[in-house]
Symmetry: C2
Subunit: 345 residues, 2 copies
């Protein structure tokens, strides 16, 4: 059973996922050559994954058989386990609890050779709907306080399978950085009676220096104090604390902006590995006025990891204004090589 | 001029180091093949670095010429600049200040082919003395609130040169994670009237499950809630808030424990890239009773970077108890291959 453990100094919870238990020899120094193994996320290999929670099956085929265009499953190697109660326990000055939670995978397309950025806007709307469905469903489980959806793209960004997918982790605790954002947003609201994210959007629209792209409902921008080069946020222009509260009629606008932002990053930076994380208000939130959901997209470009992990002190070699200029200027109108390839086959 | 910028939501300062300004094409996807370039840290190449601040020269040779065994210089590409005042400035809701600070390099040995772990205990004492000298000297500059010494070993850990070296950054702000530790330690002290780190040492010595190695003055342990596999801390057993307050007569004991800890990590994990960061109390500290300086050593073994950066939520696949067993069991008595190599040439 995985364990949640609390650091006694700063109070951060970590997951010790003992069943993934890694021995020293499991940490490889140089990445293995790609083996042409069967992909468990490809149609025809449905039996290699846990049974599907839901799938988009335009052809009305049976569960766990081919025919789907998007598929939601439990993670075969979950960091947290869905069964059991939240037993809290102390040992001297140390605190821990059972690693209860949900860990799911959203397979974004049946096509092994396409990534999210290459899907049509309508297909990306399907991914957004899948996210909303999982948020709404898992919010009913009283054991979970936070639902986090994220995407690792590329081996350097932590993806262990290359077939396009997002992940979801539901936890009995609120992740540390989200707590800090909630506290910061609340402090700002208490002082100004305005949402800090709404104020950021207003100032960025007036400054015009860090806005990458926008439409009626969403904005993509480089934050004023980014930790990483080309770190990019996407926010709804209207104030919604959680992803699933944004109305469905805006889904196509989000799909369109997400696709264009990912394409601009991909073209500017030569298809970089990246992570995105959707920051939302906790389940049963008291932060409806103060918090404002958003995507944080982090291209994996630099390696100065341990130092920055260890100190929380980031040195960013590219100013957000400069990153914005590159992202704005890149040509996304002409057909991309990967799309040309698609047209061919 | 580099800039310090403050995130308006959570209040974290970042360095935007514009003079290192990276264009998209500067971020390489695959690391370059090692070029056999001249190493600026090797004897004979002293003119390739800024003039030395100090060096150990057992042969009494002139500054910036060969003969040294340890050399302290300013970083040629500093993240912060030593000249100038701390001008704070606002722009709408955003805050920034001049990137004033010190950025130095401690070249730990003149031998390009040895790392810290291969130095003799007496040579490591020289490195410790160099650290103390810089802490004491830079504490006199009233612009600096924090002095951070760290080491990046290996390209994957962010080292741009392979010749063994540590770095020092002095900043006008306290890094975020250190602030959190200070606050946590203060909260604990206010409640218990004891140092939380002293209590951790007491409990670990009694539990015996996570102590890697110890001597009269220092202890190396795996923390109860580690973020990373094989994360290892070294603490003085007696309570000292800052590195330079530990008495000089303990230097040899620290050198001995640091060498043995690094050797155990190196042997268990096949010479992994790693970072260490020395956590100390801020300059002009009010945390003398509450804070307890320590090394945090983080081998770079996993890649799940962006997600964990983005959330502060860590999934660790190796329990600290298991890591401790591996580190204790590994043989460090027999001569290491790299030391055999040294004996040969």
């Amino acid at each position: 059973m995985p364990e949640l453990r609390k650091d006694p100094i700063i109070g951060r919870w970590v997951i010790i996922s003992t069943e993934r238990g890694k021995r020293p020899s499991d940490f490889e120094k140089t990445p293995k050559k790609k083996e042409s193994k069967l992909c468990p996320f490809c149609p025809g290999n449905e039996s290699m994954t846990p049974p599907e929670i839901k799938a988009l099956r335009p052809d009305g085929s049976k569960p766990d058989t081919p025919g789907w265009t998007l598929r939601i499953i439990s993670n075969k190697y979950p960091a947290l386990k869905i069964e059991g109660d939240l037993n809290r326990e102390g040992h001297g000055m140390f605190d821990k609890m059972n690693g209860v939670g949900a860990h799911e995978v959203i397979i974004e397309t049946s096509d092994h050779n396409r990534d999210l950025v290459n899907l049509s806007e309508a297909e990306i709307v399907g991914v957004i709907e899948a996210y909303r469905f999982r948020y709404k469903d898992l919010k009913k489980d009283p054991r979970f306080h936070y639902i986090m959806i994220f995407k690792n793209k590329g081996e350097a960004a932590g993806a262990s399978l290359e077939h396009a997918h997002s992940q979801l982790i539901a936890t009995p605790i609120v992740p540390k950085r989200v707590s800090e954002e909630l506290e910061g947003a609340k402090r700002y609201y208490d002082y100004k009676e305005r949402c800090v994210f709404c104020d950021i959007i207003r100032q960025e629209l007036s400054d015009k220096e860090r806005v990458v792209v926008e439409n009626e409902a969403f904005i993509a921008l480089e934050p004023f104090a980014p930790r990483f080069p080309f770190e990019t946020w996407i926010l709804p222009k209207k104030h919604y604390a959680s992803f699933e509260k944004t109305p469905e009629e805006d889904d196509l606008k989000l799909a369109s902006l997400l696709k264009e932002t990912l394409m601009r990053l991909s073209r500017s930076l030569n298809e970089p590995p990246y992570n995105y994380i959707i920051h939302v208000s906790p389940v049963d939130s008291e932060y409806d006025k103060e918090y404002h959901w958003h995507f944080e997209i982090i291209p994996k470009l630099t390696k100065v990891a341990g130092f920055e992990w260890g100190t929380g002190f980031y040195i960013n070699p590219t100013s957000p204004e400069e990153a914005t200029r590159y992202l704005r200027e890149v040509d996304v109108k002409n057909t991309a090589p990967e799309q040309q390839a698609e047209l061919v086959h």
